[in-house]
Structure formats: structure tokens, C-alpha cells
Symmetry: C2
């Protein structure tokens, strides 16, 4: 293995750790209803895009932040965790494909759902990874017959 | 403006043209039900991800190609066009956020729908841009009262 390839691999491994970290911070910010953390996670850019499950796209940092403020103000509690993460690092860009497990309580109403998400990150000139695209869409509920036989 | 910045800008402009071109090829391949073109557009990678509107994710080039083959075999005709494209170039990665206008005929049944898509591309060592993530999700139908007053 060439020295250059080794450096590339080491940089990718470090980048992957950092992307996993900011990805976890994004979901922790949701679960903590913490708007300041949410603001830290996103890249402040007019090209930032956020698609909440089943909704139209929000474009631009200001509009996206406003929507998280509205969600956090309405939700009594919220727990969102990411699983089945598939991460790709491409120099100063990276993306994570994952499955979100969502529980939200609005007043008396509790919602449980699953969503597929594509999250794209950029590395800033200061070396910080920030979210620039979050696209989530509902995963259809599985019919009973689609579950593996072992569950029956 | 520095010479380096000028070169960066020129490279980005060329990259944007190339990404727009392969993006258009992706939608043209759908509308032509052309599996060979579809195969050319995608990056042959195990990390490729495709989410059709309202469906679960397909992971890996082989599985994705199989699904397009199934769609093309079932559809009598199909027209999908992309609009409202927002493009970001990040060196050898790029992504396009867009709205898809979809018309598909299966036998006697015709479906018209709109979807929001996030499409991520990578530039190969040979300098070709290839699709690595396609995530589409249905856009909710607008209620009559949500349309601008001018339409009434």
C-alpha cells in the first residue's frame, strides 16, 4: 500500500468518526428539543434543504431553523434514533443513509413512526462537519405476512 | 480574484454542467424505459441507495438495477421530469434537490404524482459523474384553500 493511500485511508477513518459524531448530535438535539444544538449541527447556508417525513422541502438555514423551533415548541417530548447507518465519505462531503425510529408526544397524542433518511454533510474550512441536507420519508408499515416467519 | 479561485470557479461551472447533463439523462432513461441508459447513469457500487416514492430503501447497484428492470417491465409508459433543481458541487461529489413530476401508465391505470428528490452524484477517477443516491418521497397534495387566491 502506498504512503499516499495510507494517508487517505487515515483521513477517511477520522472523517467517518467525525461524521458519526455530528450525525449522533443531530438526533440527540431532536430528542433534547435543543434548538441551540440543532443550530450548531446545520450549515448556515442558503442551499441547506430539510424535508420532514411526508412534507414539502424547506430551503435555506433560516427557514429550516424556524421549522425546528415550531416542532420543538409543539412537542411535549420527542425521541428520534438512527439505525442501519450507511456512511460514505467523499473528501469534504459525506452522507449517511439511515432508518429513523421516531416517538413524539404532542399534548395527549403520541406518534410512533419509522422513516428513511438521507443526511448530507459538508466539512467547513475550519474542519467542522455540518448538515446541509436532511431528507426523511415515512417507511410504509409492514403487513403481518411480510414479517419473517420466526416472529409468528 | 486569485488565479486559484478562478480555476476553482471554472471547474465548478464545468462540473455543474456535467451534473445537470447526467441528471437529465437519469430522467430521460426513466421516460424512455431504457435499462441500459439507467445502468450507465448509476455508479456500480455496494453503497448505492435508491428510495422510490413511499417505499423502503434498496441498497447496492445490483438490487437497484433489478428494481428499475421490474418497473420498466410493468410500465406501459412513463414520463418523469425534474424541476426546481438546486445543485451543490463539492469537489468530486455533488447533489441535486428537485421536484419530480411523474406520469406512469400500468395497463389501464394511469398515475400522476409529484415527488421531492435528493440525488447524489460522485465523479469517478475517469471524470464521469455517476448517481450514487436517489431518494424520492411523495409530495402531499395541496388542499384547495392552500392554493394562492389568484387561482380562484
Amino acid at each position: 500500500m502506498s504512503r499516499e493511500k495510507q494517508i487517505d485511508d487515515a483521513d477517511d477513518a477520522a472523517a467517518e468518526r467525525e461524521v458519526r459524531e455530528v450525525h449522533a448530535r443531530f438526533y440527540a438535539a431532536m430528542s433534547a428539543l435543543d434548538i441551540h444544538e440543532m443550530m450548531e449541527v446545520w450549515l448556515c447556508a442558503p442551499t441547506a434543504v430539510c424535508v420532514h417525513p411526508g412534507r414539502e422541502a424547506l430551503v435555506g438555514f433560516a427557514r429550516i431553523l424556524e421549522s425546528w423551533q415550531q416542532i420543538f415548541a409543539s412537542a411535549a417530548s420527542m425521541s428520534v434514533s438512527a439505525g442501519e447507518e450507511l456512511i460514505v465519505i467523499a473528501a469534504d462531503a459525506a452522507w449517511v443513509s439511515c432508518v429513523e425510529t421516531i416517538s413524539i408526544t404532542f399534548g395527549e397524542e403520541a406518534i410512533s413512526a419509522a422513516a428513511r433518511a438521507t443526511n448530507i454533510f459538508r466539512r467547513t474550512p475550519e474542519g467542522r462537519w455540518r448538515l446541509i441536507v436532511h431528507h426523511a420519508s415515512p417507511i410504509p408499515a409492514r403487513a403481518a405476512e411480510e414479517w419473517p416467519d420466526v416472529i409468528n
